[in-house]
Amino acid sequence: MSRFPLVEDRDGQTVVRIPLTRGLGLTPLQTVFAFLGLVGLFALPFLAGLVGLSWERLFRGILFGLAAVGLNLLLRHTELVSFGHAAFFGGGAYGVAVLAAHYNVSEGLLLLLGAVIVGTTLAVVIGYFVAGYVDIYFALLTLAFNQVLFATVFRSGFFNYNDGLQVRIGGDRPTLFFLEWTTLGYDLVLYYTTIVLMLVMLLAMWKLINSPFGRALDAIGQDRTRARFIGIPVEKYVWLSFTISGLYGAFAGGVYALLRLHVQPEPTLYVFVSGEILFMAILGGFTTLVGPLIGGIILVYLLEAARFWVEYYHALTGLVLLAIVFFMPKGIVGSLPDFNAWVAGRVREPGRLQEDVRSATAAVREGVDRATTTVRIIVFGVK
């Protein structure tokens, strides 16, 4: 296949795609975003401080976002809403912590491997039990498994209850690539290793969802009965996608443990964390591949940093989220094409900007009228 820009003819429109792997390519605009994203990711530790952001916090956001990318495989394609994905994030984190605290494993990459094995095994087991269920039953079952794990860890001396486990061996942080690092060196090496692995995982996910397997998952999401009739082994495919989805969470949780060096049940395994991971996907745009990642970064930043800006920081976080849900229902990344189209339209016909202002003003006026009427009825009655 040609490595040069590929010109396709789709429904009479000419579409240019820059091929990345066999059969898959990006539009020029996507290519620009992807390039900027890559530069941003690799320069993050150096750029973040310049604009007053904490890159460790952004790093944690990326990790939760990656777990949300995993969850999104189920949400977007099989249309299953999991309320229990913290089980895999926490499972990965505790995989690292247990190996370090109880078995003195000191190499970070081995710990990470352990995390992936533990979290993915959990996903295999839980996936086996939930794959046959849909809708609210699936959501509640995943939530129940999550709570069972949380309660077990919270009340078990082996996991040191809610005080959690240190990811330090004799007080020292793990080695990475069998080398000891300074505090900053450790964080940087961990970050860049994670980013490289994450890009591979994103690419793999992209290939997966565009493969026949991915199409089969779409079919399952649209109608299970029909999917079964055309010969798709529905439960098996859901089980497999659940496992892959858990693997992403387990990897992210493992890195989180290596970064934080201390694992407690509440920030990793609690069912609210599952809700947050789900919300990250919706916030960033669950119809896109990288949306959940962006959602993760934004939500974690808000949850951690807003308390330093305002007293009622939960209210601020809530307002931001409400604004996004109301004005960007497709999520941040999911709304980008609409936004681009709007900008392009206004550049072509600047006159329509006045129309927009008029319709916005009309909408506000209508809202105020309705509110006034309601208040009048409440205070003075219908007549």
Binding site: S54, E56, R57, R60, F154, R155, G157, N160, Y161, N162, D163, G164, Q166, R168, G171, T183, R260, L261, H262, Q264, E266, P267, L303, E304, A305, R307, F308, Y313, H314
Partner: protein, 431 residues
């Protein structure tokens, strides 16, 4: 102790005396600290504590305490002329991240957290970052005894007594009241998380060593539960001589409410609760009936008697005036943590003739002694604060419209904590 002794013991420095609650005693005199080279800008300090949800019962008291100490420091000219600015944030589950943010924001010192799990997560990070943290609580005993012994810990300190001191004081209190031979059985209802398990383990070790009593029931309701009846029924059917409970906040109130409802206090000789008095402002008069000895950690506002101890009296008046509550031990957690650091900082300036760096300040803070209205406190070589532990009969005060404790017993730190270098459970076993 009279005021003159207090003044002599603290070296008569303006700040130390003000924080001990005796500022009216000072006279103008030449102070070498005035010649010290000290930066002009104010000291920036961060406090993280629980400001919302169930644990805010404790957390907000810690905030009041820290704010009161800072107010007194600033009203008395600051620390070596430097005013203190205190930023308070919600601790949540992100204490480690909050500490990192404080450091990024250039804080000179940080205080908090309340949660022991949060504290455990922070200690290695504190030593990596090298900005002193004086924990208000986070009192799990193994933290400095086993997990972070002095050789591995330079910058992390804790003011409030650790768990062994109140759990053992509870055991001794039970023996003092009922007599060694009268205690054959005991039971425990403790919150089902690390703190509750820690307290029950130490109390069990202590009471068994002191009396040879047998454990008949051990229950761990969830923290913040809305029902303890199954645990209370178990206690009713076992009828233990002593019931131990480290429940706090809403859990303590619930235990007393449901315990009274189910007649639990007819079936036990004594309830000892090391942090029961933390709920002082939330209890009602009828809940204070029964054979209940409530602990108040390292501070009870009326000990020494406020009629004979003006620093205590003035503090209660100030807190009532400012916040409309009675100060509890968690108030002192905040007040004492700030005071420990502030008096050590002033001492360091006096010694060095300039503002100390973090390493020097940590050195001075280790083995540092200072006064608050609660009395004299020391920070040990293990970075743990040591103060008296308090227990008394739970009762009601019409004057304050709040719970009080009467007939208060005070336990010296050395009687309820192991010698340096020994772990608590080993020490108790060696009795």
């Amino acid at each position: 102790m009279d005021r003159r002794t207090v003044m002599k013991a603290v070296g008569g420095t303006a700040l130390a005396v003000a924080l001990a609650g005796c500022s009216d005693l000072l006279q103008e005199e030449d102070d070498p600290i005035e010649d010290a080279e000290v930066p002009d800008e104010p000291i920036e300090a961060g406090l993280q504590t629980f400001l919302e949800g169930a644990p805010a019962v404790l957390g907000v008291q810690a905030q009041y305490g820290a704010e009161t100490a800072v107010r007194r420091i600033n009203d008395n000219g600051g620390i070596a002329d430097r005013q203190v600015e205190l930023e308070v944030v919600e601790e949540g589950e992100e204490a480690l991240e909050n500490y990192q943010q404080f450091v990024d924001d250039g804080m000179d010192v940080t205080f908090g957290p309340i949660s022991s799990g949060n504290h455990e997560a922070m200690v290695p990070e504190i030593n990596d970052q090298g900005v002193i943290n004086v924990a208000t609580d986070g009192t799990v005993t193994t933290l400095y005894e086993e997990d972070h012994p002095p050789e591995d810990n330079q910058y992390s300190f804790r003011f409030q007594n650790h768990d062994v001191m109140e759990a053992l004081a509870a055991a001794i209190e039970a023996v003092e009241l009922l007599g060694e031979d009268e205690i054959d059985t005991y039971a425990g209802i403790n919150p089902g998380y690390a703190f509750g398990f820690d307290e029950q383990e130490i109390f069990a070790a202590g009471i068994e060593q002191l009396t040879g009593a047998e454990l008949v029931y051990e229950g761990f309701p969830d923290l913040g539960t809305d029902d303890m009846s199954t645990h209370i029924e178990e206690v009713n059917s076992e009828e233990p001589d002593v019931l131990f409970s480290s429940c706090w906040g809403g859990d303590a109130t619930l235990l007393l409410e449901q315990g009274h409802g189910a007649g639990m206090f007819d079936n036990v000789e004594l309830l000892v609760g090391p942090v029961l008095y933390g709920s002082a402002n939330d209890l009602s008069e009828d809940l204070t009936d029964g054979p209940i000895r409530a602990g108040s950690r390292n501070f009870y506002w009326d000990q020494p008697d406020t009629e004979r101890w003006s620093p205590g009296d003035e503090l209660v008046a100030e807190v009532q005036d400012e916040y409309g509550v009675l100060p509890t031990a968690h108030f002192m957690s905040g007040y004492g943590a700030v005071t420990a650091w502030a008096t050590a900082a002033e001492k360091a300036v006096r010694l060095l003739g300039r503002w100390p760096d973090q390493e020097e300040l940590a050195e001075v803070l280790t083995n540092h002694g200072f006064f608050t209205p609660a009395g004299y406190h020391t920070i040990g070589p293990d970075h743990q604060g040591y103060s008296n532990a308090h227990f008394g009969e739970l009762a009601w005060s019409g004057e304050y419209d709040a719970a009080v404790i009467e007939d208060v017993n005070v336990y010296a730190a050395k009687n309820v904590s192991p010698p340096q270098g020994q772990t608590s459970l080993d020490w108790i076993e060696s009795w």
